[in-house]
C-alpha cells in the first residue's frame, strides 16, 4: 500500500516538481500509511528507486544512452549502468529515509 502510494505520486510529481518533492511525498505518505520501521523504509526506498530508474530510462533509451555514456566517462565509471544505479540508490535512500522519518513521526502522533 505505502509502496504503491509513494510510487504513483512520485512518478506523477517527477515531471513537474523539484527532486526533493519525492522526500515530502514519502514522508507524508508514511505518516498516513506507515506500519513498521522496516516496511516504511523499504517502501520509500523501493518506490523512489524505481521511479527514478524509470524516469531516467524514459529519457536515456530514445537517446541510445549517448549522454549517459559520456557522463559515465566524466565520472570515471566503467559503464553508464553504474550511473543509473547511483542515481536510483540516491533516490532510494532519500525516499527510504523520508518514509522512515514519516513513520517515526506517525508513531509519536499516534500516542
Amino acid at each position: 500500500m505505502l509502496f504503491i502510494l509513494i510510487f504513483v505520486l512520485t512518478l506523477i510529481a517527477g515531471f513537474i516538481t523539484p527532486w526533493w518533492a519525492a522526500a515530502i511525498i514519502a514522508f507524508i505518505m508514511a505518516v498516513y500509511a506507515g506500519k513498521k520501521p522496516a516496511q516504511a523504509f523499504w517502501s520509500g526506498f523501493g518506490a523512489v528507486f524505481m521511479v527514478w530508474t524509470i524516469l531516467a530510462l524514459v529519457k536515456s533509451v530514445p537517446n541510445d544512452h549517448v549522454l549517459a555514456g559520456r557522463v559515465a566517462v566524466l565520472f570515471h565509471l566503467p559503464h553508464w549502468i553504474f550511473l543509473l544505479l547511483i542515481t536510483a540508490l540516491i533516490g532510494g535512500l532519500v525516499g527510504g529515509m523520508s518514509a522512515l522519518s514519516g513513520f517515526l513521526v506517525r508513531r509519536l502522533l499516534a500516542k
Binding site: W19, D64, H65
Partner: protein, 809 residues
C-alpha cells in the same frame, strides 16, 4: 525515546537532502545533477525528431519558416531583416546556449563569478588587456548604424525569447555541472565575441621576446637572425603586382630603441597550425568554366563546434555558410552571386609602450616632455563564494597598462611586459559585423570591395569569386600607418613619434583581381613582395603551405570540386623537400647503428607526405626538431628569448654551413653543420626507439602525433580522443594535436552555385544529442558534404527532415 528516534530520523533525512543539494568543491550538487526530473538525464535528446512544430514568439513581426536538414542545419526564411536575425538568434541559442554564455563570460572577464577564485587571474587579464573597454567602444559605434542596430537588437531579442521560456530541466548540461543559471543576452555580448576573435587571431606580440634578444645579442645579430623578409618567399599578392595608388608618406622612426625591460618576460611562441588556407581558381582552369573557391580556417578545435552552419534568407538576402554562435550574419560562405572566405593576416596591431610613471600612485606619466594624467578604470569582478574584487586599471593615451609591476602580474601571464601600456586594435571603435552584413548580400566584385572597406580586425585575407567569373584577394583590415619595424620591439611610450600615426587607406590594402595566372591563394604567409609601400608586420606564417597550394593550382587544368577537396587534405611537405636532401647528404652512414640505418632507409624512400601511415614523416619531424634545438638551445638558453624562425634555420643549413651558430658553446669542440646534422639524427632516432621500439608500425605518423578535440571546459568524455589522421602545421592539411581545419568549404560558382562543406563536430552543442558530433567522421575521412541551398521555403528536398514555424503574437 520515541521522540528522539523520530527527531534523529528527521534530522538525518534533512542532512542527507541538504548534502545532496549542496555543491562541494568542483562537484555539482549530487542530487541536483543526477535526479531524473531536472538533472542531466533530461539532456538526453531523443533520436526521434519532431517533424513539424509551430511556436508563437513575442517580438516577431511576421511568420518565419525554418527547415532543418539531415544534419539539423537550419535554413531560415524570414520576410524582413528584423525577423531574420531574431530567428538566427533563436535557433542558434537553442543549440549553443552554454557555449555562447561561457565564451562571452570569458571575454568579459566574468568567469570567477561562476567558477570562483581560481578564474580570477584570467578575468583580470581580460579586463586589463582592455577587452571590455574595447567592446564598449565598438558597441557605441555599431549602434550608430541603423542596420546594425536593428540586426543586433533583433538577434538579442531572439536569443532571449528562447532563454526566457526555459525550465530548469532544459538548461544545457554544463550549467548543471557548473551549477549556475543562464542569464539574459545583451547586445554587447555579440561584440565581445568579435573581441575574442581579435584575441585569438590578432592578440599576440613577440615584441617583449624580441627586446630581450636585442638586449642580449645587439642589433647586428638580431637583424641577421630575425630579418624582415624571409629566404623562402611566396607572397599572397602575386610578386610583381603593381600598386595603382599614390602611397601616403611614412611616419619618421623614433630616435631610440628600448633595449631592456623592467621585469623578465617569458616568451609564448605562436602555435604553428593556427592558420588557415584559402584559394580560388579562375573559370579558364576549371571544367565548368566558372571559378571554384576554397577555404579552411584552422583554429584550436573544440566541442561544441566552433562554427554553426546555417542558411539565412529574407528579401534582399539568401546566403549559406558558417556563423559564430553569438554573432549575427554568415562569416564564411556564399550566395547566388558570390562566395568568400578568410585566412588570418597576423598584422602587427598590438604594441607595448614602456611607460615612465612619476611615482607609485601611477597618476601621471611622462609623454612628449611633460607629465600627463592617467585615467583609472575600475573593474568590478564578482567571485563565487567570495567578496567581489575591485581591480583598478591604469590607462594612458595609448591604452591600458596591463600590469604596473611584476608583483601585480600572475605567473600565468608572465609573457606580458610590465609597466607597459597596450595599444591594441581591439580597443578601437570597430564595425566588422557590417562587413559580413554586406558580404551576405553582395552581388559582385564592387559590392565585395565596398563591404571590406568597413572591416577593422582581426585582419583577414578575404578571398572572392563571383558568378561573373571575377576572382580576387584582399589583404584586409585597418592597418596602422607605421614606420618600418614599429612595434617589432617594445616602444618608448614617452616619444610621440612612437604613436600610431593614422591608417593605411582601405583602398590601398594589398589586393589582386583576376591575375593572368588564373588563381589566387593565401596561407597566412607574407602578404606582399618588398615593393608594397607600407609596413604591416616583420614576420608572418611560414611560406610552405602557400607554396604547395600555388604549385598545385598552377599545374591544374580542368579543375573540379574534387581537385579542391583533395588539395585541402594534401599533406606533402615543402619543408622536407627543401631541406631533407641536404640533411641526408651530411649524414655519415658508417657511424650509424642498425636502427639508425633502418631509419635512414625509411627516410630516403619517404614520399615526403605527412600521411597517417607514413613512418618517414615521424622520423623527419623528430630529426628537424632535434636539429633546430641543437642549433639554438645553447645560445638562446632561456625562455625569455624569441627563437629564430624555421626559415632562418633552413637558410643556415642550406647557405651558411660555416656559421658560428652550429657550434655548441657548451662543449670545448667546434661543431660544424655536419656534426649537428649527424648528432641530431642519432639522438632523435634513439629517442624514437626508446619511445616506440624498433622502426616499424609503431612509428607511423598518425599514431605518434596526437590528434584530439577537447570539450571547451576540458570535460573528459565530452570530446573526441585518438583521432588517427595525417597532417602537420607546415602542410596544407595543418592538423596536429588540437589544431586544424575547423571548417572546410569548396564553392563551385556558376549559374547555379553549389557549395560543399564539413566541420569537425555537429550543429548541436549538447553532448547528449546525436547532432553533437554527427559530422565528425565525414570530416575525419577528408570528405565534404554537398550543402543544401534552398531557393524558397517551399522547395522540395529529401534532405529536409523537419520544419519549425515561428509566428509573432
Amino acid at each position: 525515546m520515541k521522540f528522539f528516534k523520530a527527531l534523529l530520523a528527521v534530522v538525518a533525512t534533512l542532512a542527507l537532502i541538504w548534502s545532496l543539494e549542496t555543491k562541494f568543491g568542483d562537484l555539482p550538487p549530487i542530487a541536483v545533477f543526477l535526479n531524473p526530473a531536472t538533472g542531466f538525464w533530461q539532456n538526453a535528446d531523443s533520436k526521434h525528431i519532431i517533424k513539424k512544430l509551430d511556436l508563437k514568439l513575442k517580438g516577431l513581426q511576421r511568420k518565419v519558416i525554418i527547415r532543418y536538414d539531415e544534419n539539423r542545419i537550419p535554413h531560415i526564411f524570414a520576410q524582413n531583416d528584423h525577423d531574420l536575425y531574431f530567428a538566427q538568434g533563436y535557433v542558434t541559442v537553442a543549440d549553443r546556449l552554454w557555449q555562447m554564455d561561457i565564451q562571452t563570460r570569458s571575454a568579459a572577464g566574468r568567469l570567477a563569478e561562476i567558477i570562483g577564485p581560481k578564474a580570477l587571474q584570467a578575468d583580470e587579464y581580460h579586463r586589463r588587456m582592455g577587452m571590455v573597454y574595447g567592446a564598449e567602444n565598438s558597441l557605441r559605434a555599431i549602434m550608430k548604424d541603423e542596420r546594425m542596430k536593428v540586426m543586433i537588437n533583433a538577434y538579442t531579442a531572439g536569443i532571449n525569447a528562447y532563454i526566457r521560456q526555459l525550465w530548469k530541466r532544459d538548461y544545457p548540461i554544463e550549467f548543471k555541472l557548473l551549477d549556475y543559471e543562464p542569464e539574459d543576452w545583451k547586445p554587447i555580448n555579440c561584440v565581445l565575441l568579435m573581441k575574442l576573435m581579435d584575441e585569438t587571431l590578432a592578440g599576440h606580440s613577440d615584441a617583449a621576446a624580441m627586446t630581450n634578444v636585442l638586449h642580449k645579442f645587439g642589433p647586428n645579430v638580431t637583424n641577421d637572425l630575425f630579418p624582415d623578409r624571409t629566404m623562402h618567399e611566396e607572397p599572397i599578392i602575386p610578386a610583381g603586382t603593381k600598386w595603382d595608388f599614390k602611397a601616403l608618406p611614412l611616419p619618421k622612426p623614433a630616435a631610440d630603441l628600448i633595449a631592456s625591460m623592467a621585469a623578465p618576460v617569458r616568451h609564448k611562441a605562436k602555435v604553428e597550425g593556427i592558420g588557415s588556407n584559402n584559394w580560388v581558381i579562375a573559370g579558364k582552369k576549371t571544367v565548368s568554366g566558372y571559378p571554384i573557391l576554397a577555404n579552411d580556417p584552422h583554429l584550436n578545435l573544440t566541442f561544441p563546434s566552433i562554427w554553426y552552419q546555417m542558411q539565412l534568407s529574407a528579401p534582399g538576402i539568401n546566403t549559406y555558410g558558417v556563423t559564430i554562435p553569438g554573432a549575427p550574419c554568415v562569416v564564411i560562405g556564399y550566395n547566388n552571386h558570390i562566395s568568400w572566405g578568410e585566412t588570418n593576416v597576423d598584422a602587427d596591431v598590438l604594441d607595448f609602450y614602456r611607460i615612465k610613471f612619476k611615482d607609485d600612485s601611477h597618476n601621471t606619466y611622462w609623454y612628449n616632455n611633460q607629465w600627463h594624467k592617467t585615467i583609472k578604470r575600475i573593474e568590478h569582478i564578482a567571485v563565487r563564494g567570495q567578496a567581489p574584487v575591485n581591480d583598478t586599471v591604469i590607462y594612458t593615451h595609448q591604452g591600458p597598462v596591463a600590469y604596473e609591476n611584476a608583483a601585480k602580474r600572475p605567473k600565468a601571464y608572465n609573457d606580458i611586459p610590465v609597466g607597459s601600456a597596450v595599444r591594441w586594435i581591439a580597443h578601437d571603435q570597430t564595425d566588422d559585423l557590417l562587413t559580413f552584413y554586406l558580404l551576405n548580400r553582395a552581388n559582385n566584385y564592387d559590392d565585395y570591395r565596398k563591404a571590406l572597406s568597413y572591416y577593422t580586425a582581426p585582419a583577414q585575407n578575404f578571398i572572392f569569386a563571383s558568378a561573373d567569373k571575377d576572382i580576387a584577394m584582399t589583404v584586409n583590415g585597418r592597418f596602422p600607418l607605421k614606420f618600418k619595424d614599429q612595434g617589432k620591439y617594445i616602444l618608448d611610450g614617452s616619444d610621440p613619434a612612437n604613436d600610431w600615426q593614422g591608417w593605411v587607406p582601405a583602398a590601398q590594402n594589398p589586393a589582386a583581381k583576376n591575375p593572368a595566372r588564373g588563381y589566387l591563394s593565401s596561407a597566412n604567409q607574407s602578404p606582399t613582395d618588398a615593393s608594397y609601400p607600407y609596413y604591416i608586420n616583420w614576420s608572418f606564417g611560414p611560406y610552405e603551405r602557400g607554396k604547395r597550394i600555388n604549385e598545385r593550382l598552377a599545374a591544374m587544368q580542368n579543375a573540379t570540386v574534387d581537385s579542391m577537396r583533395a588539395l585541402q587534405t594534401d599533406t606533402y611537405s615543402i619543408s622536407a623537400r627543401d631541406v631533407l636532401p641536404t640533411m641526408i647528404g651530411y649524414l655519415d652512414s658508417g657511424k650509424l647503428d642498425k636502427n639508425q640505418r633502418q631509419a635512414l632507409a625509411i627516410l630516403t624512400s619517404w614520399n615526403k607526405r605527412f600521411d597517417a601511415n607514413e613512418t618517414g614523416a615521424t622520423i623527419f619531424n623528430a630529426w628537424w626538431l632535434k636539429f633546430y634545438g641543437m642549433i639554438w638551445n645553447d645560445e638562446f638558453d632561456n625562455s625569455s628569448l624569441m627563437l629564430p624562425s624555421r626559415d632562418r634555420t633552413e637558410q643556415l643549413l642550406l647557405k651558411e654551413p660555416g656559421s658560428k651558430w652550429f657550434d655548441n658553446i657548451r662543449t670545448p669542440l667546434n661543431e660544424t653543420c655536419a656534426d649537428i646534422v649527424n648528432h641530431s639524427f642519432i639522438a632523435s632516432v634513439n629517442e624514437l626507439v626508446h619511445a616506440h621500439g624498433k622502426p616499424g608500425k609503431n612509428w607511423r605518423w598518425g599514431y605518434v602525433k596526437l590528434t584530439y578535440i577537447n570539450h571547451l571546459a576540458n570535460l573528459p568524455g565530452f570530446g573526441a580522443e585518438n583521432i588517427i589522421a595525417g597532417g602537420t602545421g607546415s602542410v596544407i592539411n595543418a592538423l596536429v594535436d588540437q589544431h586544424g581545419p575547423s571548417w572546410r568549404m569548396v564553392v563551385q560558382m556558376g549559374p547555379k552555385v553549389q557549395g560543399y562543406g564539413i566541420f569537425p563536430g555537429g550543429e548541436s552543442g549538447n553532448p547528449g544529442s546525436i547532432y553533437y558530433d554527427d559530422m565528425l567522421k565525414t570530416w575525419e575521412s577528408g570528405k565534404l558534404k554537398p550543402l543544401l541551398f534552398l531557393q524558397s521555403p517551399a522547395e522540395k528536398s529529401e534532405r529536409i527532415k523537419s520544419t519549425l514555424t515561428l509566428t509573432g503574437n
